[in-house]
Amino acid sequence: MNDADVPADATDRVLLQRMSTGDRTALATLYRSYHGRLCRFLSRLTRRPDIIEEVINDCFWIAWQKAGDFRGDSRVSTWIMGIAYRCGLKALRQHGEEAVEDSIPEDRTPADDPDEDRELRDWLSKGLERLSTDQRIVVELVYGEGHTLDDVATIMQCPVGTVKARLFHARVKLRNVLPALAEGSITVKERNDQVP
């Protein structure tokens, strides 16, 4: 667990405990806190905002019902992402091909998206479209959400070895398809300065 994870998880546990007693303010706080990351996570499964909202609400509906059953074996974020993952897969099965859209219409992309971010998104989408759904999810959970292999295995309810294999194959594919890095990327040395 990262040092930064500890206080965040403690806060989540308090909110969950309050939810188990019927505190809707705690539910709203947790909902707002997770909305952004769940949107991004679920956007790796579907591009439809209505389905994403539906899955997020299903996820928090379950979290509201099961808050008292949370045993604390994992971080709250791992627990919630696991629920969202299963709700997302269920929604994909129910909506079928309707859930898949190739691209986001212009009017749905964030208006304040700077050129650099747009370039990064394009670069990323070229790579992700070559991955299977499971591989995309693993990459999102590791690189986007910062989860460990154990966390990802818990979320996807599969062995750690399976997660390792998915991550490995995803990285090999990305390495083969992503275009050459632009000049001016963060250097290794700069990055190492941040490593404790």
């Binding site: 905002p49 994403i52 909202e53 309707e98 964030p110 999102e140 690189y143």
Partner: protein, 210 residues
């Protein structure tokens, strides 16, 4: 062109990269990776790509979903009395719906057919030419051919005395089918009395066999 891996340390470096990026690696591990990257161009390229991947994955979702509107809908769902397992407003794809419709139509058809068969008389409403004419249900049924000279009065008197009644006929050869008036009126010697009576040319019991 992609760089290739040559060194024995490259697989270890490859495996370590995501966790160094997540700041989950120890300082010793991070230092080791840094020293490896300093001398391995392929891993350096890969690590730079990993950094860019992490940066791209950390961007906010490009699909915009209104958090407050979603939260209000969720709170509204909690207030719904029948709120149970999350339900979808839309069922599965068109294929699923078509299959369900086909199964329903089949079930309705089978049900209607079964109802019709159940309500219909079990006896077949047709008879083949080789089939025997259905025998009267009452036992003691006889087939009798009266003489052409026999008067209607004698015929009626004979039937009355033997407590018989006409239940069929005359057929093509002038035979009548007689049956006892009631089950109590069956007498064992009725056939002999008929044969002995005047004006009766033929009297035979009706049996199932041809």
């Amino acid at each position: 062109m992609l760089a290739t891996y040559f060194g024995q340390d490259c697989p270890r470096a490859w495996e370590m990269m995501p966790w160094v990026l997540q700041n989950r690696a120890t300082k010793k591990q991070a230092d080791w990776l840094a020293s490896h990257l300093a001398q391995c161009e392929a891993c350096r390229t890969e690590f730079a790509q990993q950094q860019r991947l992490q940066q791209a994955m950390s961007l906010p979702s490009e699909v915009e979903v209104d958090a407050e509107a979603g939260l209000q809908r969720l709170l509204g769902r909690l207030d719904t009395p029948a709120a149970e397992e999350p339900k979808r407003t839309r069922a599965g794809g068109w294929l699923t719906r078509a299959l369900v419709a086909a199964i329903l139509i089949q079930a309705i058809g089978i049900g209607a057919l079964g109802l019709k068969m159940w309500s219909t008389d079990q006896t077949a409403s047709y008879r083949t030419l080789s089939q025997e004419e259905p025998a009267p249900a009452t036992s003691g049924t006889l087939r009798v051919v009266p003489d052409a000279s026999m008067t209607l009065g004698d015929w009626n008197a004979l039937l009355h005395s033997l407590q018989l009644q006409v239940v069929g006929g005359p057929n093509d050869v002038g035979a009548y089918t007689l049956a006892p008036v009631s089950a109590k009126s069956i007498k064992p010697n009725t056939l002999q009395q008929l044969r002995a009576a005047r004006g009766i040319r033929l009297a035979e019991p009706v049996t199932g066999a041809p």
